[in-house]
Subunit: 273 residues, 2 copies
């Protein structure tokens, strides 16, 4: 399958990435992925705020929202008639070889126009299966929650399954459920929605945050807590979320059938409002 | 300071890196750095063997030695009259957005011609100071020892000091000394050379391996073991090593003066033979 894409590097269609870009050399950068609606990034204020915070967590100053919006205006149009995704990458820019920071940092900003993945309608209707990953999430408080470019753990976890699982559940060393390779996680117990604490690891996604905020409107309380895998299996229902597909009901984890109600449906409706 | 460099991507001076290259997107790749002597890579069989092993550890097939040597022949010459470094990066190549592997993988190979860093002669004569890093090395057995492109921990650790420290000592969560941001570590206790066990984390460098092999010729036994930081401070002497500078005596860690003898000098001589 050929890869069709267009991108701007520092606002320039002709600029190329150097192998001395620290994003390539060391994964020294952060990124965001968001759906585009009629040429506009969905939930832009939240995504931009998170991008600024993630940049700051590795000592980078994020390019201005005006620059990023200007790039998107060049890449997307209100007339786009297919579902599209914008991916933004900010790196520490080019440097000499070696870990020491450049004397002056000129961050590299990349904005990409990409196709929206196709999500089967049965996933929205009947829920999705999760693989149970053996690859563990490590505790690194300095990088916890940050969507940085060091994603080999996710890659290794994603290499574990070749069946029809939609995503893979990742746990920490103690066996607590943390997140999926590309999704955050919520488990409902009566009227309490538990989502794993991401202060030690994981990616604290924008859609997770939105669900935490809107839980009230669904008459649910949110608890951010440790979530042992054994406890997850006892939940009344489990959903996963990310910025592209919104929310999906989990039908199975590791082949075990989970109870299913309508939480993902209710969350999707609330997200769309 | 301007960056002077030349590189080949997949053997081509005109090829560029895509932001969809998984090396850039996820740090999904591995690398090596080695000195060039009269156009030839030093210790090439070891470096190539390690590159093959590191590729395999993330499920990649390394390009042939012939291709890599051919790239180096295009970039370096026996007539080069300045000290140079070759850096080789192998990534999983371009993919669609998302962690799932491409249906067919076409690895990207990058070979770079770079200047050798300048090492002050006083570092070889009087030893080097180490900063004691707060950034911890995490246990990730699947990636332990591998020189992969997920190097944010090293970057964060290197951001910790701005004084004349040559490198920074990194420890694990338990406080064991493991390695430095760009170097491996040996501590001598009488006639035993202890180097930290890298089965859970760290980068198992080629020069570390060479020192393990040549210890015999220095009448030293090698023990690969856990090395608590408190124990390191009681060593008869401590050295650090990498493929570019060889070995250096450590004069101070965290401002504490360490005993110094002639181990780094003896190791350098042995490495040069």
């Amino acid at each position: 399958m050929s890869i069709r894409h267009t991108y701007l590097i520092n606002g320039d269609f002709n600029q190329t990435l150097s192998p001395l870009d620290r994003g390539f050399a060391y994964g020294d950068g952060v990124f965001r992925t968001m759906p585009m609606h009629h040429g506009q990034p969905a939930e832009w204020p939240l995504h931009y705020q998170k991008l600024v915070a993630d940049c700051a967590s590795i000592g980078l100053v994020c390019p201005s929202a005006e620059l990023l919006i200007s790039d998107m205006v060049h890449l997307f149009s209100a007339a786009d008639n297919q579902p599209l995704v914008a991916k933004i990458v900010i790196t520490r820019g080019e440097g000499e070889r070696g870990y020491a920071l450049p004397a002056v940092t000129h961050p590299t900003r990349v904005v990409m126009r990409l196709p929206m993945p196709h999500y089967a309608s049965e996933h929205f209707l009947s829920g999705v299966k999760l693989h149970l990953c053996k690859t563990q999430l490590l505790e690194q408080p300095q990088l916890a929650g940050v969507k940085h470019l060091n994603r080999l753990e996710n890659v290794l976890a994603r290499m574990e399954w070749h069946d029809d699982c939609f995503d893979g559940l990742m746990r920490d060393k103690q066996g607590n459920a943390v997140e999926c390779t590309m999704s955050n996680l919520f488990a409902r117990f009566d009227d309490v929605l538990v989502t794993p604490d991401l202060s030690q690891y994981g990616v604290d996604g924008v859609t997770r945050q939105r669900i935490i905020w809107l839980a009230n409107t669904l008459n649910l309380q949110v608890r951010i807590d440790v979530l042992p895998y054994a406890k997850l299996l006892l939940a009344d229902e489990v959903i996963i979320c990310n910025s592209l597909y919104g929310a999906m009901q989990v039908s199975h984890v590791d082949g075990l059938k989970l109870p299913q109600h309508d939480l993902a449906h209710r969350v999707r409706n609330a997200l769309h409002q």
